[in-house]
């Protein structure tokens, strides 16, 4: 009964989405106020129904209803309760329903949190989001029904959830990622609505900015969690593989980063308008493309769910409609909204333009590397794979090129600045960065040029920000007031840029200084790695809720001092018999120690063992978290609230310059 209810709710939800696409849009076109006012109601109805549908699916999982094919294939009575809930979206069908649900929640959020928008604009936004929901809900219903029953022949026991996904990180990673993906639909809908209305001004940018920043922040967190999960769960100690599935989330992030910077220019200076619109279309299209790549099974990946091509064709057609339709609209309307404001080449505008070009080129090179194997295969040129060396070779220089300008950005002035002022402002930060670059790598012992370069770039960013902060606070009468006077969006920028600096140092330090060793060890033996002595004490069998494991115990000692006990496991899951490595990690701000078990070798109790010493690996994730925090900070900016008052009071909100 419950699955039927869920299925039914999903169908009515689709009907609501169709109504949301058509009725308010018709109202906006004909000037029919009554039809327009239906928008928020339809958005809420659609959301409630899809939520109901998702809850029904979750209940089916909790109740071990193996008559539902999805539950039978992805769950098991032995599975702990949290992972049963995780299993709801740990598969293709369920994750598409989650995608739809999150999209609906974003739509509802727009309906609820933007009463200050002019009605006609708001309903256009809701209509566009409704049409995206139509695409996803019908995709789910027609090609991947999560409620399909296994009747007759209900299995007594389900097969298990893929053990790789039985991990706390997997409970929040997909939702965060989807919140980010689907969140770009808001920026997209705002852009389409603005094109439809022919109104593209600072007010439009100010409306879509907080939404875009929040979506971007969620996407950052989602990507970060994915990388962290790969690090501790896959057992090979890597944190980024340039796998097509990772790229699928990274491309919208790159385009989104360009978008949030370009939106800043559009809001503050009324420039780059048509460019910003184009970026909003790109960012969302790349989210859809990412979904296509992951869901269609066209790529070889360590974590793509293998799927039938029918779904791929559906998403491809959907993608073609969205991209083709919005680009056509763009071609028709963009000339009308282009801006004619001048700026000097020595100005913040041109630095942000550079940012945009770099991020867009980075997106395109990643896109090219990801699609190259597909293209070659489609053209009959053979089955190629493009690996990490390609991506590192193109991506790293691009980012390195970006950072010097990024250090100038916050200090620079809008419209017109001078190089002599830049020199004067930046001499001190540059000197400080050089001193750090010369001295800090010495702490680790051997001097490494790449690490020095990373410290130089990161230091350049950090000291540049410090200088700018000092300038801004110093002009106030006292320190406290100076700090309080700075807007939340400024603090957001500072935190996010600091996060980027932390990422640079983390990535370079860990890739340069990491020591990894695959060894054959037997209990009682000791191996030394980067000054740490790893003693293999013993192996003992242990039993988990749905697995049995061999658990090893390692004692780590450094210079006679006890450091950590590590207990990596080799698990065998009872339901499917799959073997899983559970790495043991002693985390630290400056180094991680990492032990993973291979397999037993020979007859003397020896094991293949993987030992890692990973310095500063946490700085990357910390940096990503800081970037996300920065993104969230900007929403607290008073500017985005005072606009509501000024608009409702009938004041010319569009002229409010913040």
């Amino acid at each position: 009964m419950i699955p039927e209810l869920g299925h039914f709710a999903q169908i009515i939800g689709l009907a609501m989405a169709i109504a949301l696409t058509l009725i308010p849009a018709w109202g906006a076109w004909r000037g029919n106020r009554a039809a327009m006012q239906l928008g928020p109601g339809l958005a809420s109805g659609m959301t409630v129904l899809v939520l109901l549908s998702f809850v029904c699916l979750s209940i089916s999982f909790v109740q071990d209803d193996f008559s539902v094919a999805l539950v039978a294939n992805n769950s098991n009575t032995l599975l702990p309760m949290v992972y049963k809930l995780c299993a709801v979206f740990g598969n293709h069908e369920g994750s598409m329903l989650l995608w739809s649900l999150i999209l609906c929640l974003w739509t509802l959020a727009v309906a609820v949190f933007s009463p200050s928008l002019p009605l006609i604009f708001q309903v256009r936004v809701l209509s566009v989001m409704g049409s995206v929901a139509v695409g996803f809900l019908s995709f789910s219903l027609f090609t991947s029904n999560p409620f399909a029953r296994l009747l007759p022949g209900i299995p007594a026991e389900g097969s298990d959830l893929n053990p790789l996904l039985q991990d706390p990180g997997m409970i929040i990673h997909p939702p965060l990622l989807y919140i980010g993906y689907a969140g770009f639909s808001v920026a997209f809908a705002f852009a389409i609505a603005a094109l439809l209305g022919g109104r593209l001004d600072a007010a439009w940018a100010r409306w879509s900015r907080p939404w875009t920043n929040v979506a971007w922040a969620f996407l950052s967190l989602g990507i970060m969690l994915g990388s962290w999960w790969a690090y501790y769960e896959l057992g090979w100690g890597g944190w980024w593989f340039w796998d097509p599935v990772e790229n699928a989330s990274f491309m919208p992030w790159l385009a989104g980063t360009a978008l949030i910077h370009s939106l800043a220019v559009t809001e503050k200076r009324g420039l780059f308008k048509s460019w910003t619109v184009l970026l909003a279309i790109f960012a969302f299209s790349l989210s859809l493309l990412g979904t296509f790549l992951v869901r269609s099974g066209v790529i070889t990946s360590v974590h793509a769910f293998a799927n039938d091509p029918e779904r791929g064709v559906f998403i491809l057609v959907f993608l073609a409609i969205v991209v083709g339709g919005s680009l056509t609209l763009y071609a028709l309307r963009a000339p009308a909204v282009a801006s004619r404001v001048g700026f000097s080449w020595i100005s913040r505008e041109s630095l942000l333009l550079l940012n945009n070009v770099v991020f867009l080129v980075a997106t395109l090179t990643v896109l090219f590397g990801t699609l190259f194997p597909l293209l070659m295969d489609a053209l009959g040129g053979g089955k190629y794979s493009v690996g990490p060396p390609y991506f590192n070779a193109v991506f790293v220089p691009l980012m390195a090129l970006l950072v010097p300008f990024m250090g100038i950005g916050p200090l620079s002035r809008w419209k017109k600045d001078t190089t002599s002022r830049w020199r004067q402002e930046l001499l001190l930060p540059l000197s400080a960065a050089v001193i750090c670059a010369v001295t800090l790598p010495l702490v680790h012992g051997e001097y490494n040029l790449w690490v020095a370069l990373a410290v130089l770039l990161a230091g350049w960013l950090v000291f540049g920000l410090a200088r700018d902060l000092w300038n801004r606070i110093n002009t106030a009468s006292d320190f406290k007031r100076g700090v309080r006077r700075l807007p939340a969006s400024y603090w957001g920028m500072v935190v996010a840029h600091l996060g980027f600096a932390a990422c640079i140092v983390g990535v370079v330090a860990t890739s340069q200084y990491s020591i990894e060793r695959d060894l054959k060890m037997k209990p009682g033996e000791t191996e030394e790695l980067a000054g740490y002595e790893f003693r293999f004490v013993e192996v003992a069998p242990v039993r988990g809720p749905n697995f049995v494991a061999d658990e090893a115990r390692f004692e780590v000692v450094r210079a006679g001092e006890f450091v950590a006990n590590l207990a990596p496991q080799k698990r065998r899951y009872l339901a499917g018999g799959s073997i899983m490595t559970e790495a043991a990690i002693a985390p630290g701000l400056f180094r991680d120690l990492y032990v993973a078990m291979g397999e037993p070798i020979g007859n003397d109790g020896s094991w293949a063992v993987r030992l890692h010493y990973k310095p500063m690996v946490r700085w990357m994730w910390l940096g990503a978290i800081l970037m996300a925090v920065g993104g969230f900070c900007t929403v607290a900016d008073k500017r985005y609230r005072s606009q509501r008052r000024s608009v409702t009071a009938g004041v010319k909100g569009a002229e409010y310059a913040g």
């Binding site: 097969s159 893929n162 053990p163 790789l164 057992g235 099974g297 066209v298 070889t300 360590v302 974590h303 769910f305 293998a306 004619r340 001048g342 080449w345 333009l353 070009v357 080129v361 395109l364 090179t365 090219f368 590397g369 190259f372 053979g382 089955k383 190629y384 794979s385 493009v386 690996g387 060396p389 390609y390 991506f391 070779a393 193109v394 220089p397 691009l398 695959d518 060894l519 054959k520 499917g576 018999g577 799959s578 073997i579 899983m580 490595t581 993973a596 291979g598 397999e599 070798i601 020979g602 293949a608 993987r610």
Partner: protein, 149 residues
């Protein structure tokens, strides 16, 4: 020249310069860093280059996996049931690697026909088969379970 046009010209020049640099990087990076997939049948037919990074994939032949006693070296045979390629690898194999399972090995082919692998990928759950392996097996007339069709 009109200042707006001049600005546009500079912008265009800037984009052209920048994208040529990017294309240069891409071309350079592509040269040594992509590798082509070969089913064992094509390796046996001599179509695979010697000493270039390539990938081969198929089933790990039953009874072919041999581990060295004093190191992490491992030897196995990848087959698509019409031809076989011997592979050597030193290191830890993925969890789901096993005899009679699909696997992809990337590395360089030596003149004696042995692939020395730098990386071995296996499927990551019971239901998954790398598409290229499935394709290779299909070409030699077997399904992904290794059953003759």
């Amino acid at each position: 020249m009109h200042p707006v046009r001049k600005q546009r010209l500079i912008l265009v020049l800037f984009i052209v310069l920048f994208s040529s640099a990017a294309i240069g990087l891409v071309a350079y990076a592509l040269r040594g860093n992509i590798n082509l997939f070969f089913p064992p049948a094509e390796v046996a037919a001599g179509k695979a280059p010697i000493g270039q990074p390539i990938r081969i994939g198929g089933m790990v032949k039953e009874g072919s996996v041999r581990r060295s006693d004093d190191s992490l070296e491992v030897y196995f045979v990848i087959t698509d049931f019409s031809a076989e390629v011997p592979v050597t690898y030193e290191g830890i194999l993925p969890d789901l690697f096993g005899e009679g399972q699909g696997a992809v090995a990337s590395g360089k082919l030596a003149a004696n026909g042995v692939l020395s692998a730098t990386e071995v990928l296996a499927k990551h759950d019971e239901n998954y088969m790398p598409p290229e392996v499935a394709d290779a097996l299909e070409k030699s007339g077997y399904d992904h379970e290794g059953v003759k069709q």
